[in-house]
Amino acid sequence: MPEIKLTDVSFSYLNRKEPALAKLNLTIPDGSFTAIVGHTGSGKSTLVSLIDGLIKPAAGTITVGTTSVGTDSKKTELAKLRQHVGFVFQFPEQQLFAETVEKDIAFGPENLGWSEEKVKAAVHNALVQVGLNAELASRSPFMLSGGQMRRVAIAGVLAMQPEVLILDEPTAGLDAQSTAQLMDLVDHLHRDGRTILLITHQMEQVARFADQVVVMNHGRLMVDTTPEKLFSDSRLLAANHLDQPAAVRMSQQLQEKGIDLPLTLTIKQLSEQLAPRLGGKE
């Protein structure tokens, strides 16, 4: 299973003076759930595009498992990175193109050169994973609802069975129920041993799921830490325009009132702390 390692990585877009990424060093351990946060234009998407081999670094090296790319790597070497890494783009439903859901999900596995049976099994598994009815397989993806389209698009990435999964704001524009279902799926994939990289603006998601959090600002890595440490440092949060999750805010306010509480990241943790003190049961 792969570990992701970036060493002194820089990247600039054409026609722009400020580099999109500058001298970035980061290690993402195998099997971790890493949240990448930062405001718009901070370099989050550039960072994950480099890990997926979609763009070539201007300096430095990127290693995923045993594959390594640098400034003079060829296109085929960059393509190798993509065999380990699955990338769910922002609004992934925009990339659907095939006549049927089945054909669209099979696109990735077919590109990997798998046998017909293997592709079929992968498509079926991916549909089950994202919780879509098997009957939908023969329907046109353009006839589905927005939420279903997004699940089909995510199934198209999962069908390739990537060891590393990148998700760029996967819950943007979804209703509360679909958001909860999708995050449960991501959590489940993580428990199965996959490395997850999640770009998000939802600090609640960071607090609840991540075990590593990377804060980006103006193309620089500001801090690489755990959610506990990040959310207890209010000055660091303010400097990077980040919010505290509700549970963190509430436990800090209670601490200020003189109540002895450990820092809690989620509402569930907070209620487990408070309920016994108020005389309640589980």
Binding site: R82, F89, Q95, G108, F142, M160
Partner: protein, 267 residues
């Protein structure tokens, strides 16, 4: 993919040319292109190159940007020049093989065509490098006003042009994003023969079309929601103001034209 965007793209700046009225610039550019066809000898060609060099320097855009504008068209230019050299006849023959021959007139014609291509492309690049596409559309609208008399729907046409121009960069970005999404699903754009490569455009083009239709519908709804009426008289957020410097540019153009015809007659 980034090279395709460079041709005809705006380079922000605050040079005298950037500040010129877009109507003046459009008129200058078109007139200059017409003048190019009147250049027939060494002196007239050099005179027009001199005038173009002056505007390039006044535009304060680096020569590298102009070179990038010409580069994508280099093959078309070379091909046309080669055809002229090999297939036109007249004057002393220098080399012959079957019906292919290199003659003096052929060489001269090819030189003139090369000159015209380079100068016209560079001149239009000066216009697009110093003027945003929306400003050019504004100027075009102004020039088309007289057509209203013969019932041409000028406002609708110019709105269509502005919308089309406005969405080119948006759709370009969209295309890059979708291509990246399909590449990350293992699609390899750089392998196989031309038929296979064309087939691979399908996963990019279909989402792009779907998205563009959706965008068009949303835009139409948004415009109607804000009370857009195609028949109503329009006011403009970007006003066109004619300044002294614009008149000066017209005088400069007149000087270029007079000297050109002078050189044609007397040399």
């Amino acid at each position: 993919m980034s090279n395709a965007i460079v041709f005809g793209s705006y380079v922000p700046g605050n040079s005298p040319l950037h500040r010129l009225d877009p109507r003046a610039k459009l008129f200058l550019c078109i007139t200059y292109v017409i003048l190019v066809f009147f250049a027939n000898g060494l002196a007239t060609c050099l005179w027009l190159i001199l005038a173009l060099l002056a505007t390039i320097i006044a535009s304060q855009v680096s020569f590298k940007m102009y070179w990038r504008g010409i580069r994508p068209l280099a093959w078309i230019i070379l091909l046309t020049v080669a055809f002229q050299v090999l297939f036109s006849t007249g004057g002393p023959v220098y080399w012959q093989w079957g019906f292919i021959s290199v003659t003096r007139d052929g060489l001269l014609n090819s030189l003139i065509i090369f000159f015209r291509f380079m100068v016209i492309i560079t001149a239009s690049t000066v216009l697009t490098a110093t003027t945003t596409t929306l400003r050019i559309a504004d100027a075009l609208t102004w020039f088309m006003q007289p057509l209203k008399v013969i019932k041409v729907p000028v406002n609708q046409i110019t709105l269509m042009i502005s919308i089309a121009l406005r969405f080119i960069p948006t759709i370009m970005n969209e295309a890059v994003k979708i291509a990246n999404a399909q590449r990350s699903r293992g699609m390899n754009l750089d392998e196989g023969n031309i038929v296979k490569r064309l087939m691979r455009m399908i996963p990019i083009l279909i989402p792009l079309f779907v998205d563009s239709f959706k965008r068009a519908e949303e835009l139409a709804t948004a415009m109607e929601a804000r009370g857009y009426d195609p028949e109503a008289p329009r006011t403009h957020y970007r006003q066109l103001d004619w300044h002294g410097r614009d008149t000066v540019s017209m005088v400069a153009l007149l000087v270029v034209a007079v000297v050109l015809f002078g050189l044609r007659i007397f040399i």
